[in-house]
């Protein structure tokens, strides 16, 4: 027995395998970070020499028993999975995110830059009519809401952006949106209108959010 023990010790020190607790940590980290289930052989190849993957897996499996996450076997590979009974908590992760349509983004941008803005004004800027659905979608997302009615004939409703909108876009206020000149200098506005080449116009290009729509759209062209 003595001789056996000695041999064991010698072999261990030769391979210099880390302690089992350390091996378990390593397996844990690999299984956590890897995008697919990992086979025991892969694990073995990634761990330092002399590690006992089988034992580390057993320890890990026991450690996660009854937890919110389990170590599960998938074919001949291993993976960490959330406990089946907590599946009801997972629905948010499975929400499909889709890019907003161009119409919606443009409408949203107009509301953000020109708020409070009426539907007619949105249509004037976009040059096409705005579908009911687009407005509804943005309202449903709680990115825009109804503002004060405009004190003009017909008292049309106006739209403004919401807190939720500011949150989503990481803005402190709608006034923090970059102005036209800034968009241009960031290369977002590629075509430079000819008049801007003339001196003394830079002030007119600054996008003043609170300026009226009608006069503003033209100023670039004629000033």
């Amino acid at each position: 027995m003595d001789a056996d023990d000695d041999t064991e010790t010698v072999r261990e020190s030769l391979f210099e395998a880390p302690p089992m607790a350390e091996q378990e940590r390593m397996v844990e980290a690999i299984l956590f970070a890897t995008a697919e289930p990992v086979t025991a052989r892969d694990l073995e190849a990634r761990l330092p020499h002399g590690c006992d993957v089988g034992e580390a897996l057993m320890h890990l499996r026991r450690r996660y028993e009854g937890r919110g996450v389990h170590l599960v076997r998938v074919g001949d590979a291993w993976a960490m999975r959330t406990a089946a009974d907590l599946g009801f908590l997972m629905h948010k992760e499975t929400v499909e995110t889709r890019k907003l349509s161009r119409a919606a983004i443009e409408t949203l941008a107009i509301v953000a830059y020109h708020q409070p803005v009426t539907r007619a004004e949105i249509e004037e800027i976009r040059g096409v009519s705005v579908s009911r659905g687009t407005i509804d979608q943005l309202m449903e997302m709680e990115w825009i809401r109804l503002g004060r009615r405009r004190m003009t004939p017909g008292r049309p409703v106006t739209f403004v952006v919401t807190e939720t909108f500011l949150d989503h876009f990481g803005l402190e206020s709608a006034r923090d949106l970059p102005g036209l000149a800034e968009l241009r200098s960031a290369g977002l506005l590629e075509s430079r209108p000819p008049p801007s080449a003339m001196p003394g116009l830079s002030g007119a290009e600054e996008d003043e959010e609170d300026e009226g729509l009608d006069s503003e759209d033209q100023s670039d062209m004629f000033e």
Binding site: T34, A35, G127, S191
Partner: protein, 266 residues
């Protein structure tokens, strides 16, 4: 005395060698402040204690050397050189009581502060990049869950999308004729109408500008529009043979008069 002269000279030589080495990678510097910071390092002392005067001299000799070697330096290097020369004179000459503004010492202290701050930011940047980074040393969940796939769609957009969307609209607006504000637009038809009424009185050469209608002569947007359409109208009338146009040289006033013997009598 002699000994100190000698050591002074050898320091000069060393400095000159340094400067030459620097010149070789002048492209490697990110502006004059960066160059100054590198020069200050060769002084091997605390940035707060550097001799700004000595630094200014090193910088000036660097620029001088670069000029001798006909190396083209960006203008901001030369601006800095001029400023350092100014600083040097302020530091060396007794203060002129008649002169306003900060003293040489104040200017020097601020330069030292800027250098120290840039140096500190460089070090902070290095420390930051030396941290364990996500995706390199630290890892996120590799296998996000897809337990229950509830088919709800969440629409999303980034600030970039928003800005680009707006930029797209605004760019289009700049060229969109039907969005024009009618109040500030004097149409070609209006201009023709206006001129027809007036040219029969234009027996002699008159400036085109005098045909601008009332109320369109001062406000820039209106004036611009009226000038454009009046000019276009004058071309149209000239084409029809109703008037003659003349301009002495480029950008000189355009003058017009009624054609004495119109080809097409109306």
């Amino acid at each position: 005395m002699a000994a100190s002269d000698e050591s002074c000279e050898s320091r000069d030589v060393a400095a000159r060698l340094e400067a030459e080495a620097l010149i070789i990678d002048v492209d490697g510097f990110e502006g004059p402040l960066d160059l100054l910071l590198t020069l200050s390092r060769t002084q091997k002392v605390d940035l707060l204690k550097i001799s700004v005067l000595q630094l200014a001299e090193q910088y000036l000799s660097f620029i001088e050397k670069a000029k001798q070697l006909r190396i083209e330096l960006a203008a901001d290097y030369l601006v800095m050189a001029a400023w350092l020369a100014f600083l040097k004179s302020r530091l060396l000459l007794p203060p002129d009581p008649a002169e306003d503004g900060p003293s040489g010492e104040e200017l020097a202290a601020h330069l030292a502060f800027q250098l120290e701050r840039l140096h500190a930011m460089r070090e902070a940047a290095a420390k930051l990049m030396g941290r364990d980074q996500l995706g390199r040393d630290i890892f996120a969940r590799g296998l996000p869950e897809d337990v229950t796939r509830i088919r709800s769609v969440r629409y999303t957009a980034t600030l970039l999308d928003l800005m680009q969307g707006y930029a797209r609209l605004r760019t289009r607006d700049e060229f969109r004729p039907y969005a024009m504000d009618r109040d500030a637009v004097f149409t070609l038809d209006q201009a023709l109408e206006q001129m027809r009424g007036l040219i029969r009185f234009a027996g002699s050469w008159t400036d085109l500008a005098s045909y601008l209608p009332e109320g369109w002569q001062t406000e820039p947007a209106r004036r611009r529009s009226a000038t454009a359409s009046t000019f276009a109208a004058s071309l149209e009338l000239a084409k029809r043979g109703e008037i003659e146009l003349s301009q002495d040289e480029t950008f000189a006033p355009i003058r017009l008069r009624q054609k004495k013997d119109p080809a097409h009598g109306r």
